[in-house]
Amino acid sequence: MAEITLQDIIKPENLVYKKTDLMTDKPLSYCPGCGHGTAHRITMEVIEELNLAEDTIGVAPVGCSVLAYEFMNVDMTQAAHGRAPAVATGIKRVWPNKVVFTYQGDGDLAAIGTSETIHACNRGENIVIIFINNGIYGMTGGQMAPTTLPGMKSSTSPYGRDVAMMGNPLKMTELVAQLPGTYFVTRQAVHTPAAVRKAKKAIKKAFENQRDCKPGLSFIEIVSNCNSGWKMTPTDANKWMEENMFPFYPMGDIKVDGQLVK
């Protein structure tokens, strides 16, 4: 039997996975094991599968994903900390036929940008918001976020979040689901292949809603890890997330087609 060479293997018919062209070739700046990279990839895969790339404008936040515009291969605007929903509103209002999305962390969306988030949702802006909730400020070195769990340690809650002193974690997704302007509100994760498949389906639904001019905003929370900020290995971080984050931030759809489902 002839020896099999690399050239024999690298053939179109043997292709099992191809990176979407809507992710650039730039190496991701995220820590190994971080959920940001997967969330980027499935978002871009959805835009490719729906054939929306030529009409999509994305808005990057301030946070670890500030450089999302380096990786997401579509037209992108980088917004000031927390202001992405207002920036997206500006774009969508002057280009109503384009597809506009924001990609934001929990500090960005649920602390400094709370007002912009709630009002964009309440106005029913026809945009998609992808909200990465890792319970911490990753970029600035692991400070407490509005989503940090009670008792959870961070560099500004070194003895654990004391809710009497520091306030309670904010469930932004449940909150925006109550607003008449949201059309689709769901909470997902990207830490296992099964979760990734579900999250991608949800993201697809969100972009289809916008493409089809469904009335209102589609809001997707992705509960994610921050192994660096949590000071854990990637596998421990995922386990900790399942055991601690998921009970507090339960998975699943909260509002579908404008109707609350739970």
């Binding site: 992108m76 605007t77 000031a80 202001r83 500006g90 774009i91 280009w95 384009k98 007002s115 009002h119």
Partner: protein, 361 residues
């Protein structure tokens, strides 16, 4: 001749926005400029031209809507008054950093803090020295009439797109609220989507197959590249300083004493020139139209020609006077006069200040 109307400054500005072919206005109410958004809402510009008008949840949101829409290549604007303009500064710094064209308006009121709703010119430093963070400049146009409230909208958009820079119309409560005759310019059609894409090839309008994608950002973590970007910005500001200085000289040919003023103070100082001339004092008015770029060269040139002194007249504790001093560089006497905190000075007070501080001082 264009359509003649009797209008408030704020209304003339709003009407001019529709006529200038603006694509969107994002704003938040504040006295003394709420007539701008009220007029726009009443006029239904979405029916007249397709222009979008949206009342935002805050000035912060409004300026960030401007940032998004300007980055997407459209003609957009916002307006506010002093406390609201303070809130917009982060966004303006981003707009300057990302080199986006936009128009914004400050109908200045007295401060600091919530201050008063009465007119003031105390936001000069904020407007001309960079109210937000970083080494940036913006073009500042100072209207002194309802006519200019209208004309500067058109001119402001042209300058904004010529240089990809934020342009500020720095008005005040007097100019915003007073009624005067205005000749409105003929409407300019809004750009079609194709024109907007062609006019702003750098804008985020969707990456077309075979074209480079567009990124709007003010960030570069590589300090060397950031320095290069800053140098490029500074070169643009130099170019603007060379090309875009605007001013008006009134009775300056034989003048020995010059009032330097802009906006409503220039109107008052013009009356003071008449009062002075009636008393035999050879006074003139140097009215600033652009505050940035400042007419440094012209002012310097004038002071070698028999001018004995400049009186900077402004409704502030003395801000523009610093730029007059920098221009004159000691070759003539420079003093400041102005009421502030919401008080508007009278022509008689201005003349008395000239007599005391410059002629007699």
């Amino acid at each position: 001749m264009g359509e003649l109307k009797l209008m408030k400054g704020n209304e003339a500005l709003a009407e001019a926005a529709i006529r200038a072919g603006a694509d969107a206005y994002f704003g938040y109410p504040i006295t003394p400029q709420s007539e701008v958004i009220e007029y726009l809402m009443a006029e239904k510009p979405h029916e007249r031209t397709g222009m979008v008008v949206l009342q935002a949840e805050s000035e912060i949101a409004a300026i960030n809507m401007v940032y998004g829409a300007a980055g997407a290549g459209k003609k957009v604007m916002t307006s506010s008054s002093s406390p609201g303009i303070s809130l917009k500064q982060e966004g303006i710094s981003y707009i300057a950093g990302a080199e986006l064209p936009c128009l914004y308006v400050n109908v200045v009121r007295g401060g600091p803090g919530l201050g008063t709703i009465q007119p003031s010119q105390a936001d000069y430093f904020q407007s001309t020295k960079g109210g937000g963070h970083g080494d940036y400049r913006q073009i500042v146009l100072a209207p002194a009439s309802v006519q200019e409230m209208s004309d500067f909208v058109k001119e402001g958009f042209d300058l904004a797109f010529k240089y990809r820079i934020p342009v500020l119309i720095l008005s005040d409560g007097v100019i915003g609220q007073m009624m005067e005759k205005v000749e409105l310019f003929d409407p300019i059609p809004r750009w079609t989507d194709e024109e907007a894409i062609a006019n702003s090839p750098w804008a985020t309008t969707g990456k077309k197959n075979g074209t480079e994608r567009r990124i709007i950002t003010s960030l570069d973590l590589d300090s060397h590249k950031m320095e290069e970007h800053n140098i490029k910005l500074q070169e643009k500001y130099k170019e603007i300083t060379k090309n875009e200085v605007r001013y008006e000289l009134i009775d300056c040919d034989d003048a020995e004493y010059i009032f330097v003023a802009y906006g409503s103070s220039a109107r008052i100082a013009q009356k003071a020139v008449q009062l002075a001339r009636a008393k035999g004092i050879k006074a003139g008015l140097f009215r600033l139209i652009t505050l940035f770029p400042f007419p440094t060269v012209k002012m310097r040139e004038m002071c070698g020609k028999g001018i004995k002194g400049f009186l900077a007249v402004e409704m502030s504790a003395g801000q523009m006077v610093e730029d007059v001093m920098l221009a004159v560089r000691g070759c003539a006497k420079v003093e400041h006069f102005g009421r502030y905190g919401g008080i508007v000075h009278t022509p008689e007070e201005v003349l008395a200040a000239l007599e005391q501080k410059i002629i007699g001082g």
